[in-house]
Amino acid sequence: MAAASSASYADSPGRLNLRGLARTWELLLLLTARDVKLRYEGTVLGLLWTLAKPLLQALVFTFALSTVLRIKVGYDVPYVLFLLAALFPWTWFQSSIQSSAASFSNNAALLKKVYFPRFVLPLSAVTSQLLHFALSIPILVLLLVIAGYYPGPEWLLGVPLLTAIQLLMLAGAVLLVASFNVFVRDLEHLVEVLMTLWLYLTPILYPLSMLRERVGPVIYLNPMASLIQAWRDLFLYDQLPGIDIWPALVFTAIALVAGSITFKTLEGHFEAVL
């Protein structure tokens, strides 16, 4: 006979898709809640660490770059605000990729014994980091207000829009990384180093203009450059993202396609190596 194979499951005929979708969504919520809970289990500060960590990180960078190196950002805002406006969304990006890289390989027991939509595992890492990011926005608002800047109505459109772009980009990226990591575990270590490099290549600690002067249009190869710049313009100047954001959109589309194809192709082989 031909090498063709097929498997069909008819669970609750007629309602299959809707039910399956609802279940996937609930699974994502439950796993996200578990992830958030586990992250700070046994700590005194608990969820406060979500806010304390990027703030402390910002203080370190501010000390190093603003006080020691005396970097000139050319913005009329204090360096801490200039930094945080980019560092908060970047932290969401970086921690999502780092914490989801091993999400398939670390859940071997579960993947081998229960069938469920597996892509929720890396996605739940992204959504739990999104929650941390969402919690950090009020801090940013507070600091902006203290410094005399008041968020405009543009935020109401800009924040959901940029969040959606970054969420989709991350969804594709983590599916790609987590799927490959099942076969090549080196990836989760490599990713850690690469993300640090990526942080420095992206205008987070310094302004985009500084990079543009030196490397020119090459910056468009870094999709995070345009996305981070869009976040910063929104947070600091109430500016909605414009045409400049196209590299991020292109990368999001590529990440989504590549991520889902990779996952679909490799998923069937997980059980052989896990």
């Binding site: 006979m1 031909a2 090498a3 063709a4 194979s5 097929s6 498997a7 069909s8 499951y9 008819a10 669970d11 609750s12 039910r19 609802a22 279940r23 609930e26 699974l27 919520l29 439950l30 796993l31 578990r34 809970k37 586990l38 289990e41 859940n107 027991a109 579960l110 081998k112 014994k113 229960v114 069938y115 469920f116 076969f183 090549v184 575990r185 080196d186 990836l187 069937g268 059980e271 052989a272 190596v273």
Partner: protein
């Protein structure tokens, strides 16, 4: 021309084969893969195939309880993994009608740092319930597992017996239509085992389809209407539990005691 409800075929395997490629260990090491690229590629291409199931056809009807027996490595667990959707098949066709609850390993996916209650809910949703249904079933699950006040404690404080009890309680309370049981009932004390089997018996009366993989031949005779003997990935015998078990024992006896002559079973 619809088959009547009770006769409906819920698991249909048609000419199913399952091949495992034995990946060489170096597959997972990027450094060596890159340094020895030619050898690596050659090794990847010549991966050893292992056929866990060969051209196997089996049909199971609603409400049937079928025991799968056979020596280690016969393909019993692979069969369950395929039916549960965990392992993709290499060749053939599989049709499954109904919600499958696999009891392949009790408490797979339980996380030691969170409470038994949270784990039970998450596990029930993983097994196919909605969150609301899981919440509603929780009192039954807690009662069945006999965990009492421990349900709010993190699972790292549980004994292995408590772990298994909660795992079984969740698995049988997710309203399964097809229950796949893989040897898991060998764990737990005698009292809890008795309780598990009593519950499975109840599910059976509720027309839940049960596929039981076990080395406990007495259980097959006691709980199953049909038995299937697997050997090296093919069905060696199929029929009434007593006859299949006898045949298995006879052939097993033949394997282990080479002195036995070929009997006329």
């Amino acid at each position: 021309m619809r088959p009547s409800y009770s006769d409906q075929e819920v698991i249909i395997l048609e000419n199913v084969s399952k091949r495992y490629l034995l990946y060489p260990q170096r597959m997972v090491e990027l450094k060596r893969a890159l340094l020895h690229l030619p050898t690596f590629l050659k090794a990847t291409r010549s991966r050893q195939p292992f056929w866990a199931l060969r051209d196997l056809s089996l049909t199971i009807r609603r409400g049937e309880s079928v025991g799968i027996i056979g020596p280690n490595g016969a393909g019993k667990s692979t069969l369950l993994r395929i039916v549960s959707g965990l392992a993709p098949l290499t060749k053939g066709r599989l049709t499954v009608r109904g919600r499958v609850s696999p009891l392949l390993e009790l408490g797979a996916g339980f996380h030691p740092q969170i409470s038994g209650r949270e784990n039970a809910i998450l596990n029930a949703v993983l097994l196919g319930l909605s969150r609301k249904e899981a919440q509603e079933k929780l009192p039954d699950i807690v009662e069945f597992s006999e965990l009492g006040g421990f349900i709010g404690q993190p699972m790292r404080t549980y004994s292995s017996g408590m772990y298994v009890r909660l795992g079984f309680a969740v698995a049988v309370h997710v309203k399964p239509e097809i229950l796949l049981v893989d040897e898991v009932l060998a764990v737990g004390d005698a009292e809890f085992q008795r309780k598990c089997f009593a519950h499975i018996e109840k599910l059976r009366q509720d027309k839940v389809t049960i596929v039981l993989v076990t080395h406990d031949l007495d259980n097959v005779k006691r709980f199953c209407e049909r038995a299937v003997l697997l050997n090296q990935g093919v069905i060696a015998a199929e029929g009434k539990p007593q006859e299949v078990v006898d045949e298995y024992l006879a052939s097993h006896f033949e394997f282990s005691a080479a002195t036995a002559s070929r009997g006329d079973f």
